[in-house]
Symmetry: C2
Subunit: 212 residues, 2 copies
Amino acid sequence: MDLYSYFRSSASFRVRIALALKGLAYDYKPVHLVKSEQLKPPYAALSATGLVPLLVDDGHAIGQSLAIIEYLDETHPQPPLLPVDALGRARVRGLALDIACEIHPLDNLRVLRYLVRELGVSEEAKDTWYRHWVETGLAAVEAQLAGDARTGRFCHGDSPTLADCVLVPQIFNAQRYDCRLDAVPTVMRVFGACMQLPAFVDSQPDRCPDAA
Amino acid sequence: MDLYSYFRSSASFRVRIALALKGLAYDYKPVHLVKSEQLKPPYAALSATGLVPLLVDDGHAIGQSLAIIEYLDETHPQPPLLPVDALGRARVRGLALDIACEIHPLDNLRVLRYLVRELGVSEEAKDTWYRHWVETGLAAVEAQLAGDARTGRFCHGDSPTLADCVLVPQIFNAQRYDCRLDAVPTVMRVFGACMQLPAFVDSQPDRCPDAA
């Protein structure tokens, strides 16, 4: 398998964690987002969206980090990244989507660029925007984790799931932008538990081949 | 089942379509987003995120439209909303996420409000922002639909899937904001095929009990 990734892309980071949790080997193919390599050949010919990550498995290109992780879970079921029960699966997917849909898209590089270049937003207002969506979104995740007996050592039970694969990269971003995290103690406890596992530690941005 | 919905919420619209495709009856519970009912009791006690839709099945609350649709597909498998093969499932989920993560979050009511109220963006610039993300995102969907033999009458093959449940509400939004759609002929052909089915027609905003 080939994974097209950018070290700082948190969507790529999610997939790196899932591959590592499953012990799957892959070739790391860097795509430099700040240099806009995702919009130029050869990557543009491979990806219709111009986004990373992209997994190529046996010649088939698969986009969107959550779809990739579900694909990996279906094709390499051990260890599972989703619970067996439908309600548990819905909870894990819901937590993952609460980050992947409600926080991350608003703080994407291309969105931040639009704010600055097209709307003339100041750097300070851009950073406030960033923190607003992170802090609002993580408060909603905290409320769900803190108020549910299904939360264990990790987001759901005592082994990592899709939800943890999505949570950890978001916390890396939050820390990079100095977001307030003292209001989300359960989130941070789970983050700490994840960061004791090599699959999470070894997948972090500064361990990537393309890290600056 | 109870579905907490707002007639104009396109995420709610996705779930209404899925419920209709599966022929599942439910109680429609309106939550008026413009009046901020999602942030006040009684809804705030039910939803940790303050977002719609929310499905309550046998006392269990499930959030996030894509997680709800996957849950419905697992608990009520007929007709299926995902293909049987892992690559096909990844394609359908990827298309759904290309809309749910790359377009919709940027054009959400709360985001548009932030642009206007916090950043002082003009109405005109806000509408340009809206159209930019719709048109950019739909171009990526078009490229995938037009260039893949798996596209059929619908996004994937000849029966509706999760991808169609997400595509159709996005086109409703695009039309409401006068986005350019002549550049996405395959998207619009699929949209037209969907809108020949009662499940899509009967779920549209102006057929909802809370339609203005």
